[in-house]
Symmetry: C2
Subunit: 242 residues, 2 copies
């Protein structure tokens, strides 16, 4: 019996919907009953993660923990959080539940480690918190960060997606920032914010594009379908990057 | 404070994802925190509704009820079921929970009643169970049903979508059935199965296309945002078609 996926979502809702769709697309299934059970708590009222990290705004941890516990009670066997910035609070979420919580930065880092340098498109808060610098630094992969001007474009695009604007202007902002990263030596692009894949077409780029939403979906399918008998500590530790 | 939407889903998962996306698209929001809290239990292991109705297969009611109760416990204030066929079991689901459950056939029927005849694209089980004939019959609207051959095409398309095939051949099957319904006098098309909107482009048709997934999403947003003070019996009864 496959394990039930719990999705701590709503940050933002469109990114959660994109994750859910990618999870379905990556599940081998010929009929409804072959699919995974997925419980999503899309809770957009979780206080702004970026504002907390950058400006000392309201701490989102209590709401993140309450939502994680709600999913655990509802029957989730493990959790995923399709929001990179929220991973700044991951340790406290993990301590609050008995079920494992996948780490999106570790999932992406395992795919990025074959490059010597990758460009990061993420919220300024994710950059400031150093989430990818930590995950990639210990693998000897350099993270190329946008200039302040380009970071401003990325943040503006993320806000626009959250407001429902996926239009060409927004796509242009991200494209401009991404070009700068490649000019600075990035060999691949990390879409390290789950809003970003909604305004990036990977086919547009000649370098590999690592979509954190899609990679988390793949990791979730793998985790849900993993044989019970291999669910010992070693494998879980590897899968969860502990 | 908006009410929390509970989605009894997984029938199939792609239809649930489509519903979730349409709910987000129809929510007036400029930032994450403006969106609705949505709890989705996508439970594809619920036994096949059609097989139960048509062949006396395993009764899905216990699994439907358990999933509905799980959503109620998780904090849903009302439920929606983005699967038309599952509405054959609606009364028993409603009796099992204390929160209201929207009726997709009533939601669609309120939009269809201005026509004297509508064509129905739905599972054979939904047709056999008479779900739309009941909801529309009491409004004086005739339901135009596909011929056995056309119904076969519709069912084949629904199975294909559940297996992940949204391709041109599948779209062609639905188109052929729909054309027949219009030739029989239908003034509008009712997409009375939540898999069908995934393979129909409403812009292709000169008649109105009533997408049951989109209409249920609209009704859910309305119900979630409805002023608390109007939540008396009259309005609830109207909204839920009791």
């Amino acid at each position: 019996m496959a394990r039930t996926v719990g999705v701590l979502g709503g940050m933002g809702p469109r990114a959660t919907a994109d994750f859910f769709q990618k999870l379905i697309d990556r599940t081998p299934a010929a009929r409804d009953q072959d699919h995974l059970r997925v419980i999503v708590d899309s809770n957009p009222q979780i206080p702004d993660r970026s504002r907390c990290i950058l400006e000392g705004g309201e701490d989102p941890t209590p709401a993140l923990v309450a939502t994680a516990r709600n999913l655990e009670r509802a029957g989730a066997d493990f959790l995923v959080i399709p929001c990179n910035t929220a991973h700044h609070f991951l340790d406290r979420i993990r301590r609050a539940v008995r079920i494992p919580v996948l780490d999106i930065t570790e999932v992406v880092a395992r795919r990025a480690e074959r490059f010597s340098a990758v460009g990061l498109l993420a919220t300024r808060a994710t950059v400031v918190a150093g989430l990818y610098q930590k995950a990639l630094g210990r693998r000897g992969c350099r993270v190329v960060l946008p200039s302040p001007e380009a970071q401003e474009l990325v943040d503006r695009a993320i806000f626009a997606v959250k407001a429902g604007d996926l239009g060409p202007q927004v796509r242009g902002w991200v494209r401009e920032a991404a070009r700068e990263l490649l000019a600075e030596g990035a060999q691949a692009l990390v879409l390290g914010c789950t809003e970003i894949p909604l305004v990036v077409d990977p086919q547009e780029w000649s370098v590999p594009v690592l979509d954190s939403t899609a990679l988390l979906a793949e990791a979730a399918v793998e985790e849900a379908l993993r044989e019970e008998r291999t669910a010992g500590m070693g494998v879980v530790a590897a899968a969860f990057g502990d």
